[in-house]
Symmetry: C2
Subunit: 380 residues, 2 copies
DNA sequence: GGTATATCTGAATCACTTA
DNA sequence: ATAAGTGATTCAGATATAC
C-alpha cells in the first residue's frame, strides 16, 4: 500500500494508556464513500493530525472567458454544490465533529479554504471547541487574474491551524520552520506557486485530473511543522492524494477518505510511485524544547568548565564565579545562572545561557556556545 | 469641523428618489456613546461605505516578556473583553445589522480583524445577506515576533470587503488600483507597515494614545478603491480617527462613532490638522466603465484614423480595412472591430481595441493606444 | 555633522515540570 | 486540581545616543 510501516513515533510522544495500535488502523488506505461515515470506522484519538480541503461552496455564476477569448475551466463539480449556507454549515459541523473525535488530544487540525467558506468553517470549529493557533495565508505567486476587472485579484487562500482546545498540547517544530525560512521565524504568510506543470496530475485525455489539486510544497510545510516521522495523518477529502504523497515522502503514515473512485485510482497510482526519503534526510533541526535539556552543572561535571571560572555579562557590568555544584556567585547573590542573572538585572526573567559570557583566547563568548559544544559531544 | 462641504458626489451616482440630503447627516462629527445606538440616529441608506475595526476579542492570558526581559504592552482594554463567543456574536450581529440599514444599496462594507474574531464576523455578515467580494490580507512588513517560539509569527490581519447582496451593485476603482500597483492588477494581499513612528499618536506622557491604531496607508487604499470624492464614509469604531483623517484628505465626507471621550478628543484634534488634497490631485485614473465610452467610429469621425486604413492582428493572420462609418471589413466579414475579431477567431468574445493593430512609422500599435490619445485630446 | 551603535516597541488567544 | 520553580525566547523600523 505504499506505506512505511517500519517508522514508529518517538517514544517521547507515545501514550501508553489507551494507545491505539498502528496495526489497527487502515494506514496507507483510501476509505471509499462519505468521509463522515468513513471516519466513524476509526477509533477515538487515533490520528496525530487531520488535514482537510473540504468543498469551498463556490456558487459560481455564468461562464468566464479570458481576454483572448479562451474559456476558464471553473469548479462546477457536483460535490461543490450546496443549496444553502445552513446545509453547508451542517455538513461542516458533521465532518469536523468526527475529525475531532478521531484526533488525539495533542493533535493538530488543518483546514484550507477561500472566502466563500473559510469564515463558516472557522466559526464552527471554534464553536466545537477547537482552539485556533494561527491562520495561515497561502499567497499564490501565480494566481489567475480577475479578468473582468471587477475586484482585487484573488491571490490567496487561507489555512486554519488549530489544537483540540485552549489548554491542549500541540506539536510545533519551531526549529525546523526557522531553518526552512533562512533562520528567521516562519511567518503566517507563505508564498507558494499554484499546482501546475509536471506536478499537476492529468487524465489520459490530458485534462486535469482534479480541479483543485493542492501544491505539494503546501503539504510539505504543514506536515513538517506540526507532525513527526511515524505520525498518522488523516485527510477526509483526499482528492488526488497530495497529502498521502507528501506524508509518504516525509515518513508519516496516512489515511484518506474519498467518495469518487476516479480520484481514488489516480491518488493510489500516484502514491505508489512516491519514494520515502531516507531516515537521515528526515532528521530535522531539533527544537530546544525536545532537545535534551542541559543543566549548567552537567558542563561543570563533565569538565567543560572548571569551578572558579569567571563569568561576565556582555558589558562586564557584573562578574560571577562558577562553583563546584553548578551554581554561581556574584557578591552576595548566588544560585543558578538564570536566577542570579535575573536578580542582578532586576528583570522578570533571564536566560543565563545567553546572559553570561566567558573569556576564551581574548574573545568573549556566551555560555550558549559551550552548551552547543557539549550537546555535540554527548549526541552519540 | 474640518469637513469639505463643497465636495459633492458625481451626478452619475446620485439617487434622485428618496435620496438623503448631505445636510441632514452629521458629517465630520464623532457621535458619542455606543455605536449601535449612534447608528440608529442615522437615516436608512445614507452612507456610501462603512469601514469597521471592531474589538478583536483577544482573550489574552498572562504576561509576555521579550527575550531581553522587557515587557510587551498587550491589548487588555476593557472594550476588548467579552465573556463568551455567544455574547461577541450577538454584539457583532447587532452592529452589522445597523450598518446594513444605514448603508446605501450600492455601498461597500469593510471589516478588519484577526483570527480571533474574523471568522465569526465573516460568517455573521454572510448570514445577514452581505455578499463577500474579496478577503484582503494586510501583510505586515514589521510584525511582532512570536517570542515563545510556539507558533508561526502572526504577520497579517484580514479585511473583508462586501456588498449589500449577491446582486447588489458596488463601486470598484479598478484603474486607480492598477495604476497604484504599477500597472499590475491589485492583488488581495497588501504589504503595509504597522502604524509606528511619527504617524503613531502619543499621549502627553509619550505612551501610545490607542493600542490598535491602523496605518493610514491601509485606509487610503480602501477608500481609493471603493469610494468616490464626495462620498460619505461611516466608521462605527472610530478610535483615534484614521478613517476620518484619510477620508478628509481624499475629499470624502466622514461620520464616526466612538464611546471613549479620550479617543474622540485625540481624533478630532488630529483630523482638524489634516489638509484635504486639492481637486486635481484627487482625480484618479478613470475606469473604462465610468469613462466616456469611445465608439470606434468617433475616432474615424474625428480624423484620428482615415477610412481605408488597414488593421492587423498582432500575428498578421488577418487584415481588415476601416470604413467611413466606423465599421471594418475583412474578406466577407464586416461589422464592428469587436464582432469581426470575434468571428474571425471563432471566439466567444473579442476586445477589438486590443486585438486590432495598425502600423505607424514601422511599429505595430494596438488600437487602444489611439483610443488613449483620443481620450486625452477630448478630456478638456 | 554624519555615521555607527544601542534602545525601544508592536492586536499575542505565547511553557513546562515538579511539588 | 493548583502553585511554585525553572527555563526558553525576537524582527523590523523608528528613535536616541555615542563616536
Amino acid at each position: 500500500m505504499g506505506e512505511v510501516l517500519e517508522i514508529t513515533r518517538p517514544k517521547t510522544r507515545a501514550k501508553k494508556r489507551l494507545a491505539v495500535k498502528l496495526e489497527d488502523l487502515p494506514l496507507g488506505q483510501i476509505l471509499p464513500g462519505d468521509c463522515i461515515e468513513a471516519m466513524r470506522s476509526l477509533p477515538d484519538a487515533s490520528v496525530d493530525a487531520v488535514f482537510a480541503d473540504p468543498p469551498y461552496n463556490l456558487q459560481l455564476g455564468g461562464d468566464l472567458n479570458r481576454p483572448d477569448g479562451s474559456h476558464v475551466d471553473a469548479v462546477t463539480d457536483h460535490w461543490d454544490q450546496f443549496d444553502s449556507f445552513a446545509i453547508y454549515d451542517q455538513f461542516t459541523r458533521d465532518w469536523l465533529t468526527e475529525a475531532r473525535r478521531v484526533l488525539k488530544p495533542d493533535g493538530s487540525l488543518w483546514v484550507i479554504g477561500s472566502y466563500h467558506n473559510i469564515f463558516r468553517v472557522g466559526a464552527i470549529l471554534q464553536d466545537l471547541g477547537f482552539w485556533i493557533l494561527n491562520d495561515i495565508v497561502w499567497r499564490k505567486s501565480n494566481p489567475m487574474p480577475n479578468f473582468r476587472g471587477t475586484r482585487f485579484t484573488n491571490a490567496h487562500e487561507t489555512l486554519i491551524w488549530a489544537s483540540q482546545g485552549e489548554k491542549a498540547k500541540y506539536h510545533f517544530n519551531y526549529r525546523a520552520m526557522k531553518t526552512l525560512n533562512d533562520e528567521l521565524q516562519m511567518r503566517s504568510d507563505w508564498v507558494i506557486p499554484i499546482c501546475a506543470g509536471q506536478e499537476r496530475l492529468k487524465q489520459d485525455d490530458g485534462h486535469k485530473a482534479h480541479p483543485t489539486q493542492k501544491p505539494e510544497a503546501l503539504l510539505y510545510r504543514v506536515l513538517l511543522a506540526t507532525t513527526e516521522a511515524g505520525d498518522v495523518v488523516l485527510d477526509p477529502f483526499f482528492g488526488t492524494g497530495t497529502t498521502g504523497a507528501v506524508a509518504k515522502r516525509l515518513g508519516r503514515h496516512w489515511i484518506g477518505c474519498e467518495r469518487e473512485k476516479a480520484y481514488r485510482d489516480v491518488a493510489m497510482k500516484r502514491i505508489d510511485k512516491e519514494l520515502p526519503l531516507d531516515e537521515s534526510a528526515l532528521k530535522t533541526m531539533q527544537s530546544r524544547k525536545s532537545a535534551p535539556r542541559v543543566a549548567f552543572g552537567a558542563l561543570v561535571e563533565a569538565g567543560f568548565l572548571k569551578p572558579g571560572t569567571e563569568l561576565f555579562d556582555k558589558k562586564r557590568r557584573w562578574c560571577a564565579t562558577v562553583r563546584a555544584d553548578g551554581s554561581i556567585s556574584c557578591g552576595k547573590q548566588s544560585g543558578s545562572i538564570h536566577g542570579v542573572g535575573k536578580d542582578l538585572q532586576e528583570a522578570p526573567s533571564c536566560n543565563g545561557w545567553t546572559f553570561w559570557h566567558l573569556e576564551h583566547e581574548g574573545k568573549i563568548e556566551p555560555l550558549d556556545t559551550l552548551r552547543q559544544l557539549y550537546l555535540l559531544a554527548v549526541e552519540d
